[in-house]
């Protein structure tokens, strides 16, 4: 479930990134971050499938709910990391402009 939610988030961000190629919002960074995590969970899934077989696809409802909650938390954490990077790098100069205005 976590893998599925991360892949969905990565796909959604990739579509937005492709539709706005001139955007300075550092969407590429968010995209690569989600895809990196998705690939790593995919590796985990491959190993689990190798040991459990078809049982991997029929998790217990409680595990599914926990994984769903984890997936949402992971996507949220990714967004927070991206916002921090965006504010530090400030590609549109919004933070710098706000600070400059305050100094005046």
């Amino acid at each position: 479930m976590t893998l599925l939610i991360t892949i969905l988030a990565a796909s959604a961000v990739t579509i937005v990134w492709y539709c706005h190629p001139d955007s300075k919002m550092k969407l590429g960074t968010l995209c690569l971050m989600y895809w990196g995590a998705s690939i790593m969970w995919m590796a985990d899934a491959i190993m689990e499938y190798a040991s459990e077989g078809a049982a991997y696809f029929t998790p217990a409802p409680a595990d599914m709910l926990n994984d769903f909650f984890l997936g949402l938390s992971v996507v949220t954490l990714g967004l927070i990391i991206w916002i921090v990077i965006l504010l530090i790098k400030d590609p549109r100069g919004v933070v710098r402009a706000a600070l400059h205005r305050k100094k005046k």
């Binding site: 690569l32 971050m33 990196g36 998705s38 790593m40 190993m47 938390s73 990714g78 990391i81």
Partner: protein
């Protein structure tokens, strides 16, 4: 257990390599631009250090999110020795997971990145051919 430490170690190495390559490529481009009398720096191509940056972002991003997942499952803790498996004496199990899951993670991310580089170079070659064709016309 601690599988994310393998891609994290790869990320440290690739970040160091990227930073040193970036400096070298920028100074090389600057010299080339000066020799040609151009004010603009850069060849129009994506620098290798920039491509290495894609791998860094995938590795660091994936490592951060996986570390959170490990924290969620209680596999890492915010106090020494940080890894629950090490505290419980299951170091062998932890190392085995790092050698299997961790290595597979690092290899898969790197393979995907190599695919991205291959696709980018094909697109660059196509672009160059189109530009050369336009110049001939």
């Amino acid at each position: 257990m601690a599988c994310f430490l393998v891609p994290a170690a790869e990320a440290v190495v690739t970040t160091v390599v990227q930073k040193s390559m970036e400096k070298k490529e920028v100074s090389d481009d600057r010299l080339a631009a000066q020799a040609e009398g151009n004010e603009e720096i850069g060849t129009g191509k994506v620098r290798f250090s920039e491509k290495l940056g894609w791998l860094n972002k995938m590795l660091w991003g994936g490592t951060a999110l996986l570390a959170f997942e490990h924290l969620w499952h209680g596999e890492i803790v915010p106090y020494f020795p940080f890894l629950t498996a090490a505290a419980q004496g299951d170091t062998a199990g932890m190392l085995h997971e790092m050698a299997t899951n961790g290595v597979l993670m690092a290899v898969l991310v790197t393979v995907v990145w190599i695919g991205m580089i291959a696709a980018a170079s094909i697109l660059e070659k196509k672009d160059n051919r189109l530009t050369a064709g336009e110049k001939e016309i």
